[in-house]
Subunit: 422 residues, 4 copies
């Protein structure tokens, strides 16, 4: 990764902006909301605040400032996530039992680390590539956790029987998805895959390489709630023929019959979004579905999900420039992205399940030490998602970003785009 | 149950005193501490505060005040515990995920109900036996939850890796258990079992009846930590001969090798109490052991646990008057009960496992409706405990009180008293 | 235990008769039937054949014949059941995976041990109390396994979708239970409990002691299938008020709505017995119900189960002499016990759940060594059953016999007798 | 699939040869061995015998012979495996509890179906493509079960504490793997993937398509036991850095520290093969390892597993002709494949884990009806294996065959071939 030469001021500004955005997202929370962990995949907001801070303390302050004194010795144990090389850690499933240190302690920890980082950045030789590389990873890491913060908060509030809202204002109906979907055609050929610009990327995007793609076509928008309702109304959730075997077992074991956060009240479908429980917007993209559901839907339509290579190729071809992204405050669930006359939108509605298992690129090279545990060790039993959601930080949206989850998970904003061979 | 004639003022005073004591116990908590549920047996402190209030609202205010408006319709669903006859309820295991309503809401709920109860008590004919009977149950119910509050708070704080203290002051060493244990002898005969005074009792204590007891002797104090250490040091935790078969499986499955809250730090045994992690006090009674451990210890000593009938008979014979109980603030773990020249102490150090399974008395009659779900339906696979612990409200201590838990549980203050036949 | 003086011939004759009866029970089996273990509680018939033989080899031949050479060194490991003091053993749940040694090997093992036992018994001083005591335990142990053989075979065949029969002839309808049940009255008083005759008994029956019983009455026959159907038709399986809490959870988790082996075919209730799937005999005692079901049924009738002391006292009072027992071939399920004008029948229809948890008698003393693992270590979380079933060897039927199972188990022939206080 | 024109005699001969080979494999079994199912992945040999027969009965006889009477109506329920479209079926985990129908019944079933098939084949128009296509699938299906038969028998015998042998003769040491491994180089380019010859293949091999491969090199033999021992001796099983995260959890949960069937006896490594427990042959390929172990081994060597496309391309390039395969009786575990001067051997030592997740080819088209459930619905959370093992029927060995298993499974003959980019 080439680190572009930027001024200390710019670095500091970016650092502060990212750190502040994290705290901004927590403003609507009560202290109680910060603490709990309703399922193992969801982490308490307090934990996100502390863990992202721990990253800077452990991988930068302790390494590049020999005088640095850690805020609290226990925090390495408490807020390490899965980095085996950095020592023992609290089991993931127990994160929700840690009432102490409290929310105020964690904010004090953030202040303490931010001040130390300020000094360090000011003092650091901006040509120190190693420092800037890790700093950049730390900021991207925090941005990833911003997205998890939103989805985890949604899970915590959306599983509370009183359905509290996160936002105060009412929702605005979406409209830009009502048009008939079109299919974009891509001819057979050899295409380039992977990240090659100057900007930041994760190690799993590297190893630029070529793939051969047969000709295919790909939908120019996501599948809508109304379209997904047709699948439900056709009885697909009780027809084994639509499903992968493990998907069918998942449906039966968990008695799944609709996307997460959908509730039928007095005969009318509602879904929970960050403004509370609301009547379903039929034109909005369907979200919070598992890979199993996305795959079943595609099969039922006689099509399939695109591979991650097809997705990336179509994206680079039809939407080379990432649009100015709507702010987080304008997430589509209540105020959609300005359609702007586009007939094609690849980014930001929802993470799109692809048909590709998450495996390394040909030239994948894992980082040394703790940073090497970032991506590579998860490359089994997970599926790749591309794009980004309303909760994704705007500058994280890029054509090469490889997100990944297990095929049964639904608490992220996940959606469906169809493809087929020509 | 005969309800003695008391004045409205006395009733109100008792009501307020009980309600206030609950809140007193929560004073050292941070807001975060109120919310979590680290294991299914432990409930969040917030839930205890609300559930005890729900009891008064549901079983008194809604019944005896036709104008009463409930504080919040959702609360019946949220804070019902196991009363199937009062409707749907949140699954016990999910109590720790409810960040809303918040702590402040719950205190407002308590205020609201307390005011309504104040009016109701003032307005109620004190001769209305039904009202007073349920009120008395409600207060005893809240007192039982006070005890659970303490043990649950201990669990929440004592399983936090930073071991926060609940009390601020340091512990004072216990002394009254260092003497050699003596055994009290009780001759064979027919003895009366069950509650018969005017005071309050639960339905499971009723049905006074006779039992025949062969001659036996019973220890005049509880087993101490030092005595229990001998058992550990003799290798009992790895010798199957000491254990019931299910106990042996429990030991192996959970890799148990010492009481709950014991930690060996640099070769020295410590245990966590409400003042933090402290060196073990060898003269204090061993606590936080399962029935399996109590039973194994007794077997290893060539003795056995007393039956609940032996316990009750010895207690009535040797300690007919319940002593003025030390206040909660003086729990033995840091400041023992004044020994006061007694050579016998039956109450208040720890709940004592007996050798009796929890089954109904011969004339047991379950209450009608929701109150009937209080005790009877738990009468399987649990063992009776007698006495009371440092966390037990003083006026709950009585010779006939039947506490009960599953044989593997340890989060209560549970201890051991030995017996044997003569 | 006093061992009566008997001649070597008599001892040998009894030995051979017991051993032969075990093999008799296996005659209807195919080789395949000998091997499997459909649930952990059920053992493969082959295992019963070998394990009972292992008992004689390990506890008699190796001890009393210094020249004895074991049949196969591996068998101690393979056919030890739960005796921790005799070494390592195959996990209970894995018994059904041992295809080798084969059925023929096991019969050869039985021959080998029987010959060695023949010599040993002939050579042994009949005054050697220790030898005869263990021999007697070994024979009783084998008889207990005869009963398990029958219930395990029933489970294996009765859970096969083709419902094979064990017997060839058809069933004969039962009639002796159709009369209205009567209740026998027993006055309050002190009664003697425990085994005191010269005959054999297990350690858990010893420690003769007195109990005081309030006056009560007890049903003079078992509850019938027709009576149990009334309970089912009243909706009791879906009414929480009938059930202990753990019983209610068991009903919901396992979707229980009728006794084991009951099937409704074209609107008519059938049950599987050893002659195949047959229409339900309404007058026969209900069997294969759990303690939870027995307890719920009693509660629904406004009564309760007798304690084990009430059962034993009534039995000794009303039926002091054990009747000549019907042969195994005439089990009630297809040919009932001759009613013989009796208005009272305590034995042999089914094991009767009592309301007593399985705990030690006051003077219970566990045997030393392996024999001590026979009964005592199971004294937790199990309920006592009294009486005996059609599968119980006739000379095992006695007023003091304490059988025990966990409250959810149903694969034994278990039934219900009601009691209540007067 | 083009079905080549062959004579009825040839068809019948092939049918009989395949059917006979299945029974040949069962000759060393005792009746008891036929019945059990020690883990859910393993099926009882009896079940394989019946299920393969059920396939011909259900998908050919019932369809192409309107007069055909099924052998037993229950068998559709009993011996259906996972074909949801053919009706209800016994749960996979319960296959090992079916003692009836017995082994003799199953052989009678095979006779009955074989005779009916004989008539049908003789009577059938050999130009009926549909018939021949399904027949061919049925025969390939039975051959796949032959392989499972061997691995399941190995599991049943190899998990018996007495380690019975399957073969009678002793093992012969392998030698052909002792040479230093070489790496074959393949230049970058577009290669053709998928089945295109006239012969039989499964639907998952179809959809011939092109892939672009960067230049790479691939090992010319499998990793040996001695090489794998170096990995073990380097402590890799306790070093998290070698493992995928789910692999590391698998290692810790199951306490894995060596391949399946390896046992260290008095300091010397042995492994169980079909001739019993034998000292480890260091030059033989390591087998019975999970994907997690194969992946960890490759990472530890600084290399990786080949993708399935790399494997197929190298195979087609270097070993276009499948060699005359050694007979099953000469499986390498005791008598290796004749090395024959080859410096390259792609087939038959072990199934080789590839780095490719099992997903559909671009033009994959699932068959209609029951046959469509053959492959497609398993395309999630499994990894592709290529090649074939000593237990694979010789004519199943082909460059395009896609085998697949979950990454933790080890009961197949699975091995490792390394690759890396140039």
């Amino acid at each position: 990764m080439e680190i572009p030469v930027v001024s200390t001021t710019e670095v500091l500004q970016r650092y502060k902006q990212v750190r502040q955005q994290t705290e901004e997202l927590c403003k609507p929370l009560s202290k109680e909301d910060y603490v709990v962990q309703p399922v193992v995949d969801v982490s308490p907001p307090k934990w996100h605040l502390a863990h992202t801070t721990w990253f800077f303390e452990t991988l930068l302050l302790k390494k590049f400032n020999s005088d640095y004194e850690v805020f609290d010795q226990d925090y390495n144990y408490l807020f390490n996530s899965y980095y085996e090389s950095v020592g023992e850690r609290v089991l993931r499933a127990d994160r929700g039992n840690l009432t102490r240190p409290g929310v105020d302690d964690i904010y004090a920890y953030r202040r303490y680390v931010d001040e130390a980082m300020d000094s360090l950045i000011n003092g650091e030789n901006t040509l120190n590539n190693e420092f800037h590389k890790i700093l950049e990873i730390g900021l991207n890491h925090e941005q990833q956790h911003q997205e998890l913060l939103v989805t985890d908060i949604k899970y915590i509030l959306g599983h509370n029987p009183v359905f509290p809202s996160y936002f105060e204002e009412d929702s605005v109906s979406s409209g830009n998805q009502s048009r008939i979907a079109d299919f974009l055609e891509i001819p057979a050929g050899i295409y380039q895959i992977g990240h090659q610009s100057d900007g930041f990327c994760f190690d799993n995007e590297l190893g630029i390489h070529q793939v051969y793609l047969p000709a295919y076509k790909i939908m120019d928008r996501l599948v809508t709630n109304d379209e997904y309702l047709e699948f439900m109304q056709a009885g697909a959730y009780s027809d084994f023929r639509c499903w992968l075997m493990e998907g069918w077992e998942w449906v039966k074991t968990h008695k799944v019959s609709n996307p997460l956060y959908w509730y039928k009240l007095e005969g009318i479908w509602h879904n929970y979004n960050l403004r509370g429980l609301q009547p379903l917007d039929g034109n909005a993209p369907v979200t919070h579905i598992s890979f199993f559901e996305a795959d079943a839907y595609a099969r039922w339509r006689g099509m399939r999900l695109p591979t991650e290579f097809e997705w990336e190729t179509a994206c680079k071809m039809y939407q080379p420039q990432v649009p100015d992204r709507a702010e987080f405050q304008e997430m589509w669930q209540f105020m959609p992205l300005p359609a702007a006359g586009d007939n094609f939108q690849f980014y930001g509605d929802a993470w799109e399940w692809t048909g590709s298992a998450y495996r390394p690129y040909p030239y994948f090279k894992q980082e040394e030490g703790a940073l090497g545990e970032y991506n590579g060790k998860f490359m089994i039993n997970q599926m790749v998602l591309r794009g980004g959601s309303c909760a994704t930080p705007g500058d994280h949206i890029r054509a090469t970003y490889r997100n990944f989850f297990h095929p049964h998970l639904r608490w992220q904003f996940t959606g469906i785009r169809l493809a087929t061979h020509i």
